[in-house]
């Protein structure tokens, strides 16, 4: 809306015959110099700590920098080493992809589904149930309670119950057994994942114009699923796009939870992700050049995931 009205107030470059496009832009820049002054503080900090680091690690990924000696250009050696020489990196990629595809899309669908269900409740219930679903994502380290629930000794709640029921004879080492770690960590990650995207959906459902539903009912929408697919979701396309970005980014941000639950490194590297590989080479071994190559790969994976999902979502309801 505001874009359009603003554009109306400006002289249109095409209509001006006395100025070239460049002259018009420069004039416009001079008239609106206050805009640059007002965005400057934010953008200086944002560029320094968000954009420059990405570019810097891309550049450093072609060097052998180690924080002590001057970096030397080594071409694509780091990338060759990653793919051909580093078995653990390949394992990390595999784990990251499994982990991200299990948490990202499921967290997204759970957010959407439960926001939809919660929207059917009366307003009072709605805010209480929203709080219940949202709370785990903001409660800091409370996910460590899962370690107590699934503790490896007989005092762990789950072991205690299973032993009392006679289903197992000896306690199961949940967070040390490679068979259980991945599924458990995924469950815990999902438990903490109903965050910003969930709230965005909660809000999105509330602002859909109610009269649309009546019109749709007249037009032959028969049940709530049709209503969701043909009326609500197309109205919420922007919300869905935003929530998808938040879910995907979140799916690559669970490194700390995995470390907290199963140690660093996890037993047999079974929950070792690219995030851990990056931390290992960057934070512990100070092979900054090599770590930068890992960071660049992780960056590309995330941008690719976002682009693909974005393309898919733009087809919803069309």
């Amino acid at each position: 809306m505001s874009e359009k009205t603003l554009a109306k107030n400006q002289p249109k470059p095409k209509l001006r015959k006395d100025m070239t496009m460049l002259q018009w832009t420069i004039r416009n820049m001079k008239v609106n110099w206050r805009g640059y002054a007002m965005v400057a503080p934010y953008y200086v900090i944002f560029l320094t700590f968000t954009i420059v680091p990405v570019i810097l690690s891309f550049v450093l990924s072609f060097t052998n920098f180690n924080m002590l000696e001057m970096p030397r250009f080594v071409g694509i050696d780091n990338y060759i080493r990653l793919i051909l020489d580093d078995d653990i990196f390949l394992l990390a990629i595999q784990n990251t992809l499994i982990f991200a595809t299990m948490t990202g899309p499921f967290s997204y669908l759970l957010s959407l589904l439960f926001a939809w269900f919660i929207n059917e409740l009366t307003p009072k219930f709605r805010s209480v149930v929203t709080l219940i679903f949202y709370a785990p994502s903001i409660s800091g380290q409370v996910y460590l309670i899962w370690q107590v629930l699934f503790s490896g000794d007989q005092y762990g709640y789950v072991n205690g119950i299973l032993m009392k029921m006679g289903l197992i004879n000896a306690p199961v080492l949940w967070f040390s057994d490679a068979n259980y770690i991945m599924p458990l960590v995924i469950v815990v990650a999902l438990w903490t994942s109903l965050g910003t995207s969930f709230l965005s959906f909660i809000a999105g459902f509330q602002v859909v114009d109610k009269s649309l539903y009546e019109a749709a009912a007249v037009d032959g929408i028969k049940n709530r699923w049709q209503e969701l697919w043909f009326v609500t979701l197309p109205m919420m396309r922007n919300q869905m796009m935003f929530a998808a970005v938040m879910s995907i980014t979140g799916a690559f941000g669970f490194g700390a939870i995995i470390t907290a639950l199963c140690g660093f490194p996890s037993p047999d590297y079974c929950a070792w992700t690219i995030m851990h590989h990056l931390e290992d080479y960057g934070g512990s071994r100070w092979e900054v050049g090599y770590a930068s190559a890992i960071a660049t790969v992780l960056f590309i994976i995330q941008i690719a995931a976002n682009t693909i999902i974005g393309k898919m979502l733009s087809k919803v309801g069309k």
Binding site: T5, A7, T25, N28, M29, G35, M38, P41, Y42, Y43, I45, F46, F49, I51, V54, L56, L110, F114, F117, L121, V129, L131, Y134, A135, P136, I138, G140, Q141, V142, I145, W146, L149, Y155, Y157, I161, W191, L199, S200, A203, V207, Y213, N223, E227, R237, M241, V245, T249, G253, M275, L278, E279, G282, G283, V288, A295, L298, F299, I303, N306, S314
Partner: protein
Amino acid sequence: MKKIRFRKKHRLNRSAGGDMSINILLIVFGAFMFLPMVYAISQSLKPLDELWMFPPRFFVRSPTLKNFSDLFKLMSTSWVPFSRYIFNTALVAVGGTFGHLFIASMASYALTKIPFPGRNGMFQLVQKSLMFHQTVAAISNYIIMSALGWIDTYWALIIPAFGSTLGLYLMKQFMDSSVPDSVLESARLDGAKEVTIYWKIVMPMVKPAWLTLIVYSFQGLWNTGTSTYIYSEELKTFNYAIQQILAGGIVRSGAAAASTVIMMLVPITVFVITQSNIIETMASSGMKD
């Protein structure tokens, strides 16, 4: 019976069976979300012999606040006075949050309401950077911090928080949808400066958005734990100190349970107070391609 039928008539496309299954799903998943939190609270109220009891019980039998008093006792014996950790967290959280609120909302105002060339590209850059997680930038950030000489200072924790991307994104989207241009035009005709318009007219109109920014920034900074930029003990945060207690083994398991509850209750309380404002902000969070 009549009443129910009357209500159903007014709810379009809703079947009783569907309502029932939705409620069942909400209860089942709600329990899955809620019970671990309840267990965390129950653990914090258990005396030591109940914490190490076989078979373990879900609910506490003889609740006690001893774990909390143990926690405070542990705090008072720490090498760096515990008040120092609390001061550090307060300084970082308050400083980072208000700096972020101020410069991000000022930038949002300019991006939304001043038609300077390049603003769309600038905003696109912020929007795109929501697409990758900060871990990607961690190592380079360390290099940048050390080049600036900020390693082991408060600046390393506070200043990057100013440039948080989600905050600017939400603020800009909210201003886009809830501040009509007509309000600004009359002020401009009266000769008001842009900074005055931003501070006196626009900021009071976007209260839900700045509350949201405060909550998000505060939550992020509250949960800042072991930062790689800080190694002096007296500059470390409350969350870090709590984690040290958590790592203390069986003897401290009671105090650890108590500390988890304290760490979780603060952000939850903040959210309960501000929930309606946050939801209002989120209503305009949609991303246009």
